[in-house]
């Protein structure tokens, strides 16, 4: 690896960490010093005037930069796990200090302003957050202790929520927007979970039923593969028209609470897209045990049900969870479109924000969607990894 014969590439690889760390620190400094950390506007609709970190953060600015530079230096200079753990602690401290500095600085800056004035997070704040998260990711990977990633994320989110409860971010526009529609956001969050969960609950039995139909697998693959090609907006529109027609043909369905616009057609539409990943995953899981073990099981006198429960499902578990992960992330994303046909969910807040051209309202809906799908992705892929190592062990 460290033979000096490969010339330029090897030299770049050796210099890489140092150069990368320097570039990272420079980018962070630019985000905090040059870019607009906050945008102060007279109200929530007009674009704000940029304010950089120097004015907002005050004495916290050198603190954030020093902590971050120290962490970057540690990551670049020492390859060990202990150094990485130290760097992670420094990065977390920098993130916390930055968050507190932004909240505190915004509160000072907004103290004399009329109540309609808003302090929105600017590009500098987002860039700095992205850089800090990326560096923390590198540090976490290097420590390579299972569970550290989720624990760090939980610590960060928990800390931000606690600080928010304590009123640290009250001056920020996002918090003002949230305070104004707390109940609506919570309701939308629950609706979103119901939409995504309902679609999964609808798709799973359908997929199990379809895989039992041995002869029709070719046709099934063709049809549910074809569904994937249909754009979601088009499918939802078509389903609304079909549901409307169905309701007119069979009016008693209305009494069951079914309507052309609402959660029912949205769930069906979302479920349609989940069929392919689930069906593929189930097929792969059932194929997981090799023919020799199946023969052995049959020779031992195991029934088909026993083979399914003791052999196919445990061996195919990782594939099943992998399929569930893909389907869950898709369901959470697609549920955002449900608001288009009156199904509610976080998409409604996003679309309200788009209609009003209010960036903070869009964020208020978008951030939970992204957080939900990231959480689902990370959790299920951790389960998948654990099952994989459990199977091979």
């Amino acid at each position: 690896m460290n033979a000096p014969t490969d010339g330029l590439a090897a030299r770049a690889a050796r210099m890489g960490p140092g150069v990368l760390a320097l570039a990272w620190v420079a980018a962070l400094a630019a985000a905090l010093v040059d870019a607009p950390l906050l945008a102060i506007a007279a109200n929530r609709l007009v674009p704000g005037l940029p304010v950089t970190g120097g004015t907002i953060l005050g004495p916290a600015l050198p603190g954030v930069l020093a902590l971050s530079a120290l962490a970057a230096g540690l990551l670049a200079a020492a390859p060990g796990r202990r150094a990485a753990a130290g760097a992670l602690a420094l990065l977390l401290a920098a993130t916390g200090l930055l968050a507190w500095g932004i909240g505190h600085g915004a509160a000072l800056r907004m103290a004399g302003e009329p109540s309609a004035a808003r302090a929105g997070l600017g590009s500098g704040a987002w860039l700095a957050a992205a850089l800090l998260v990326a560096a923390s990711g590198v540090a976490i990977r290097r420590v390579s202790r299972p569970g550290l990633g989720p624990a760090t994320a939980a610590l960060l989110v928990g800390g931000l929520v606690l600080a928010g409860r304590a009123g640290t971010f009250d001056a920020l526009s996002l918090a003002v927007e949230y305070a104004g529609r707390r109940a609506a956001v919570h309701a939308a969050f629950v609706e979103h979970l119901v939409l995504a969960g309902g679609a999964l609950g609808l798709a799973i039995p359908v997929v199990i039923g379809l895989s039992l139909w041995r002869r029709g697998q070719g046709l099934v693959g063709l049809v549910i593969g074809g569904v994937q090609v249909v754009p979601a907006v088009a499918l939802l529109g078509g389903l609304v028209a079909l549901t409307g027609g169905l309701l007119r043909a069979v009016p008693p369905l209305r009494d069951l609470g079914l309507s052309a616009l609402g959660p029912a057609p949205a769930m069906v539409g979302i479920a349609a897209y989940l069929l392919l990943p689930l069906w593929r995953g189930l097929a792969a899981a059932l194929r997981a045990p090799d023919p020799a073990s199946l023969d052995a099981a049959r020779a031992l006198g195991l029934t088909d049900v026993q083979i399914l429960a003791r052999l196919r499902l445990p061996l195919g578990g990782p594939q099943l969870v992998g399929a569930l992960r893909v389907a869950t992330v898709q369901a959470i994303g697609l549920a955002t479109l449900g608001a288009l046909i009156g199904a509610g969910g976080l998409g409604r807040i996003v679309f309200d924000g788009m209609a009003q051209f209010a960036p903070d309202l869009i964020l208020l809906g978008a951030v939970p969607v992204v957080a939900l799908s990231l959480a689902a992705e990370r959790t299920l892929s951790a389960v998948e990894d654990r099952m994989r190592t459990g199977v091979s062990a």
Partner: protein
């Protein structure tokens, strides 16, 4: 025989295109018991389809270029170090659905096409990159070793061994990207881009079924026809394979 899936998908596309015709769509709406409302005339539908095609085509070209180029770079020797970062980024980017990117980009980029293109690139590049890299990595080691033993340069190996052998996998990746491009262009209607999504969104808001049905059928038709074209390309590539 080998081009049969392309023919089937193409026929589905043509059938959907027929459904989007004003007369057919009005008939279907009548069958569904909708009150007859004014349909979009053929001219307007064609104009929207062309705008849809232009937006989706631009996005697809950008995603394909970036995905292919970065996918090739990631599989070179110098790119190996970036693989974990790429896989992490890919998983992260998948967590932000295109609608959300369109919505987030709206205040920054304004109404119209740009938020849609950004959404397409943000959501589409990483899977395209991963697919390309996966297809290139699946090329057998023996084939590459043989080419090296024959004295081929790295560039020659890439263009006359790796890429031709990985072509079917790369076309699969491009199919996903194309379908995504057509779908995202429809979502772009929410950000004011004038595409086939526009009559769907407007129809949903005004309870106007006929244009909604036309827009939905035409969008799906575009997706199917594009998919058929790439399936046909895949069939040709497979036939021409040595």
């Amino acid at each position: 025989m080998r081009s049969r899936p392309a023919v089937g998908v193409g026929l589905a596309g043509l059938a959907l295109a027929a459904v989007s015709h004003p007369v057919v769509a009005t008939g279907i709406a009548r069958l569904l018991g909708e009150a007859p409302r004014r349909a979009l005339d053929g001219e307007r539908l064609l104009a929207l389809a062309l705008q849809h095609l232009a937006l989706a085509g631009t996005g697809f070209a950008l995603v394909a270029l970036l995905g292919l180029g970065l996918g090739i770079l990631a599989t070179r020797r110098a790119g190996a170090a970036f693989r974990p970062a790429i896989d992490g980024l890919a998983a992260g980017a998948q967590a932000v659905p295109p609608v959300v990117v369109v919505a987030l980009a709206l205040p920054v980029l304004g109404f119209g096409g740009p938020p849609t293109l950004l959404a397409l690139i943000a959501y589409g590049v990483m899977p395209a990159l991963r697919g390309t890299a996966g297809a290139l990595e699946a090329v057998s080691r023996e084939a590459k070793a043989a080419a090296e033993a024959m004295g081929m340069t790295r560039r020659q190996i890439l263009f006359s061994v790796e890429l031709p052998l990985a072509a079917p996998g790369i076309v699969e990746t491009l199919r996903t990207a194309l379908v995504l491009a057509v779908a995202t262009a429809a979502v772009g209607a929410l950000a004011g881009a004038s595409t086939l999504g526009t009559p769907i969104v407007a129809g949903l808001q005004n309870q106007n079924t006929v244009p909604m049905l036309q827009g939905a059928a035409a969008t799906a038709a575009l997706a199917f026809l594009g998919d058929a074209a790439l399936l046909g390309l895949a069939a040709i590539l497979r036939i021409n394979r040595p």
